[in-house]
């Protein structure tokens, strides 16, 4: 038996380890960027004070909210919901082929997969407001531009999540159907798609919630819906009307989210 202290005792791990050079560079770069950002925002006590005063003025003018144009507000809210529902419906339907082409286990060719993933990433990366601006140029002011923007935005979002789910599907059932002599499309629709349906439904419902929120703001750039009313009221300093619009948006969006999460809890 060798005595325990015959071997040199290994050193205790230090309490603090020096960060690596890369960590230092990242920290310094972030700090520099942060300070530069703060300075360019031009924050002075004077401006903050004035801002608080203006905010108070806005709130006192906004309350009580003016619901006298409730019919107009209701109609444009309906238009917003129409945009969201129509856009999401087309978006979800179109997402499915995109997702199938973009998933490693269903794509006809790896090159197709790469190209499709690139297209989906582009749709997702460009914000919906910018798509709306582009479509307003293409098809003019109004809900059609909003619908198109939501379709693109939904594909960018849904196709990615659908495809992740499709790639998780176990290969066994698909192999079993392949072994019966079935064609590729039958195998995909018979063995792979049914397994993803619950997840696809949940994702689709979530994208309805997302689309309602974005449809509200799309009106700000002229793509139809309640956003048009809101931006007009703000520009005309009709803050009480704007407040009414915001309250209606709040109620509708919350109601939609509640319904959607209720259905999702039933599906999953």
């Amino acid at each position: 038996m060798t005595p325990i202290d015959s071997k040199p005792k290994p050193a205790l791990p230090p309490r603090f380890a020096a960060p690596s050079a890369v960590t230092w560079i990242v920290i310094l770069a972030f700090a520099a960027f942060f300070i530069q950002g703060l300075m360019s925002a031009d924050i002075t006590p004077q401006r903050l004070w004035r801002g608080m005063f203006n905010l108070w003025r806005f709130v006192s003018l906004a309350f009580p909210p003016d619901f006298s144009k409730l019919d107009v507000i209701a109609w444009s809210m309906l238009e917003t919901m129409n945009m969201a529902v129509v856009g999401v419906a087309f978006g979800v339907i179109l997402s499915l082929p995109f997702a199938l082409l973009a998933s490693s286990n269903t794509t006809p060719h790896p090159v197709v997969r790469t190209i499709t993933r690139l297209i989906i990433a582009t749709m997702r990366t460009i914000p919906d407001l910018i798509w709306a601006l582009i479509f307003v140029v293409a098809v003019g002011l109004g809900p059609l531009a909003g619908i198109l923007a939501i379709i693109i935005d939904t594909i960018g979002f849904c196709a990615r999540f659908f495809s992740e789910r499709i790639e998780e599907v176990k290969p066994g059932p698909a192999e079993a159907l392949t072994s019966t002599g079935a064609g590729r499309l039958s195998v995909i629709l018979g063995a792979i798609v049914p397994e993803t349906l619950a997840s696809i439904t949940a994702t689709s419902l979530y994208s309805v919630e997302k689309a309602i929120r974005s449809a509200v703001t799309l009106g700000l750039v002229g793509a139809g819906g309640i956003g048009v009313e809101l931006s007009t009221a703000m520009r005309l300093f009709n803050f009480d009307e704007a407040c009414a619009i915001i309250l209606v948006i709040l109620v509708v969006v919350i109601a939609f989210e509640q319904i959607s999460s209720f259905i999702r809890s039933k599906v999953i």
Partner: protein
């Protein structure tokens, strides 16, 4: 057995398959006559599953030839390959039923290869009355008619494998390939499933190639036993004639294909 008019059900000549550096199938030669019941034995990792997957090109092989009912499969185009696959019914270790659809629909899927319109005519709502009746008959034959509306997750493992057998029946193949069909089941359910499988195979007069891990069951159900070791066939004979020692030897020594010679069972020696 002289001058058989039929081509062999399965005829394999010098079959090779590699996964990267691992030489899985190292020159397999095998001929199975129509109607023959063959049990394939071998330790885990000896290449059995790969061999079975090569038979319908679920896994493409690298060298050698495989002929199913006289048709060489390695050069087949899509339609030809599908026609051959239709002749070979598979039963898998993990059942491979489609979850989220009913047991009945899973059986109907067996007809996928036969229908020209694929899924369109195999989906329960659009399937022909004849196919729907046939699927129900298949379920009756495996004793699960009353479970037709259930989901696969709602029935036991043994029942799921019986549904998989019903799907195979629906496919109406002439060859059955079963890859460890009872390895996921307890001994009692396993024996029931195996009895059902071999009863159906003999009633239909099918050729069967089935891998098993239980030597007793192999001797009981197989007419002919083939033993694989490290990617080669080392035992082949009528079930009654093979000495037990030969079969036991399949599980000792260098059995795996991913184990270089010389490191025999090194993992079992305490370090």
């Amino acid at each position: 057995m002289t001058a058989a008019p039929l081509p062999p059900a399965i005829e394999i000549h010098d079959l090779h398959k590699r996964y990267g550096d691992v030489h899985v199938l190292r020159g397999i030669n095998l001929s199975v006559a129509p109607g023959e019941g063959v049990v394939l034995l071998g330790a885990n990792g000896c290449g059995k599953s790969t061999l079975l997957r090569c038979l319908n090109r679920l896994t493409p092989h690298d060298g050698g030839t495989i002929a199913i009912l006289g048709t060489e499969i390695s050069t087949l185009k899509r339609a030809g390959l599908r026609a051959v696959r239709h002749q070979v019914g598979y039963v898998f270790q993990h059942f491979n039923l489609v979850p989220n659809v009913s047991v009945f629909q899973n059986v109907l899927f067996g007809a996928l290869g036969r229908n020209r319109h694929g899924l369109l005519r195999t989906w329960s709502a659009f399937a022909s009355a004849e196919d729907r009746d046939r699927a129900m008959t298949c379920l009756e034959r495996v004793g699960l008619a009353e479970k037709a509306a259930a989901r696969p997750s709602e029935i036991s493992g043994g029942q799921q494998q019986r549904v998989a057998i019903a799907r195979m029946l629906m496919q109406a193949p002439s060859i059955v390939v079963a890859d460890e069909p009872i390895a996921s089941l307890d001994p009692k359910a396993g024996r029931e499933v195996l009895e059902l499988l071999f009863r159906i195979v003999s009633e239909e007069g099918l050729t069967v190639l089935c891998t098993l891990h239980q030597l007793d069951l192999a001797a009981e159900f197989g007419q002919r036993i083939i033993g694989m070791k490290a990617g080669r066939i080392v035992v082949d004979g009528a079930a009654g004639d093979l000495p037990r020692a030969d079969l036991d030897d399949l599980y000792h020594g260098a059995v795996r294909v991913d184990q270089p010679a010389g490191t025999v069972t090194a993992d079992l020696v305490p370090a």
